[in-house]
Amino acid sequence: MAENNVRPIVKRLESVAETAEAAAKLAGILRAGDLLLFQGEIGAGKTTFIQALAKNLGVTEPVTSPTFVLHALYESGRVMLSHVDLYRLNNDVEVESFGFEDYYDTAVTVVEWADRYSGFQAPYITLHFAYGASENERILTILPDGGDWDDRLALFRRVLS
């Protein structure tokens, strides 16, 4: 869980374009070894955000929902992107058998439905998506936990606001 005194970044995203823009900015500060945990209901914007993130990491392959395949690896960007989806899992049983931890050090790992697994260890950032008032509005809350994430997100916090 988050350390004390860490202020979450809360950003209202009013359109798909704004979601993509925020993802593009975040992509700029990412590096191999980063772990990003995504939460939020279905259709709240997780995959949309990750697609934009991938594009801005230089990934040229089409990025689609990995719900069915559970794990996809993209190697065409400036850093490898490891895309994990825990939607089909209900608890910690056998999550480790997946093998996506193998890429923790060498890739940016993004995990959809991260709340289905309790074994993630900091440092990481949690990105939570919630529906807003209007059809395309989403509320994104980013919470850093551990490592140098708070410092690294400081710049991101400024450009977003």
Binding site: G43, T48, F68, L70, L73, R88, N91, E94
Partner: protein, 357 residues
């Protein structure tokens, strides 16, 4: 005693352990499918580690039953065919290891089959023949694509999903409505008694051949959030929206390419709504073909048919070929995958997770 040439095929790309004996003319001599769905329903879906272990446990029994019920002995086999991708890495590895061992022990050539191509051949089992050119709509839990085939075995990708597959949207909507995995059949059943009373979007309806089901999924969620929803009506509205997207795109492809056949394959091709909407001359001169219901979902018989095709046209695979979890269809016509036609294995290796891992 069997007189025709037959091969043994093995499929383990996801959660079915399957083996079949298939004749050169795609006649299914036997087809055995051991499903893990009841097991995975307990966990709400496929768990990779459990899936691969279950394949290993089920494998020998499934292969033996396929051989015995066909009355086939090892000497009768012309080849062994196996799915090499796409699929879950651990699951694929279980099937490929078994197939390699069998091929080695019985001195048979080993044929690698692309699971997607297997689905395309599923409509040609037991005497049905697709007339080419054809347009395929492959719709399942993991895939959603429109493919044009000027002749058998030559493919041009017309469109694919930009986010979720239609089967995935079915499963997620079912879960939002409180039903267990796999939810697709439940949604179809509920839809039969429901009314299309909620207005849902038809994402990318007017945009070419690509698909998107993420927005539809969000819209269903918003309807449910409003409360007081009638479950059957939500299902009916969702099915109406997704089927309109599928049929509109298929009809568009038929109008542009004038194929002799339109072939709908994959788990979602079981949908009674889809079969009804595309029945009775819905596509004019173009003949609509669905696989038997038992060959819509994953099975080894379709791998056997595609295996015969690969064996005849490309021959066996090399010893070092391993699994290819993110294999795509071997495409033509200046697509990026062009080089993949140079020989087997068909399709490109997109991922670094390969046989060497």
């Amino acid at each position: 005693m069997i007189t025709e040439r037959v091969l043994l095929s093995i499929e383990t790309s996801c959660d079915e352990t399957a083996a079949a004996i298939v004749g050169e003319d795609f006649r299914v001599v036997s087809s055995v499918v051991s499903t893990q769905i009841p097991l995975h329903a307990k966990w709400g879906g496929v768990i990779p580690g459990i899936a691969s272990k279950q394949h290993v446990i089920a494998m020998n029994g499934v292969v033996r039953e396929a051989m015995d019920s066909a009355g086939v002995k090892p000497d009768d086999l012309t080849a062994v065919a196996v799915t090499i991708g796409p699929g879950l890495p651990g699951s694929l590895a279980a099937g490929i290891s078994a197939a390699k061992a069998i091929a080695l022990a019985w001195s048979k050539p080993l044929v690698g089959v692309n699971h997607l191509e297997g689905h395309l051949f599923s409509a040609e089992l037991d005497g049905v023949r697709i007339e080419f050119p054809a347009v395929y709509l492959l719709v399942s839990g993991g895939h959603c694509m429109l493919v044009y085939a000027p002749e058998r075995g030559k493919y041009k990708l017309l469109g694919t999903t930009k986010d979720d597959s239609v089967g995935e949207a079915y499963d997620k909507v079912a879960r939002e409505l409180g039903f267990e995995y796999p939810g697709g059949p439940v949604i179809d059943r509920l839809a039969l008694t429901g009314k299309e009373s909620y207005r849902l979007p038809r994402p990318m309806l007017d945009a070419g051949y690509d698909f998107s089901f993420s927005g539809l999924k969000s819209a269903v969620r918003r309807v449910i959030d409003q409360g007081n929803t009638v479950t059957e009506d939500v299902a009916a509205s969702f099915v109406a929206a997704s089927m309109e997207v599928l049929t509109t795109k298929l009809k568009r492809a038929v109008e542009e390419y004038h194929p002799r056949s339109a072939v709908v394959v994959g788990g979602v091709s079981k949908s009674p709504v889809l079969r009804e909407q595309l029945g009775n001359g819905a596509l004019g001169e173009t003949k609509i073909i669905f696989p038997s219901l038992k060959y819509s979902t994953d099975n080894a018989a379709m791998i056997g048919a595609a295996g015969w095709w690969q064996f005849t046209h490309n021959g066996p695979i090399a010893d070092h070929v391993g699994m290819m979890p993110r294999l795509s269809l071997p495409l033509e016509d200046g697509e990026a995958e062009d080089a993949s036609m140079e020989g087997f294995p068909a399709g490109r290796q997109e991922s670094g997770i390969d046989g060497g891992k």
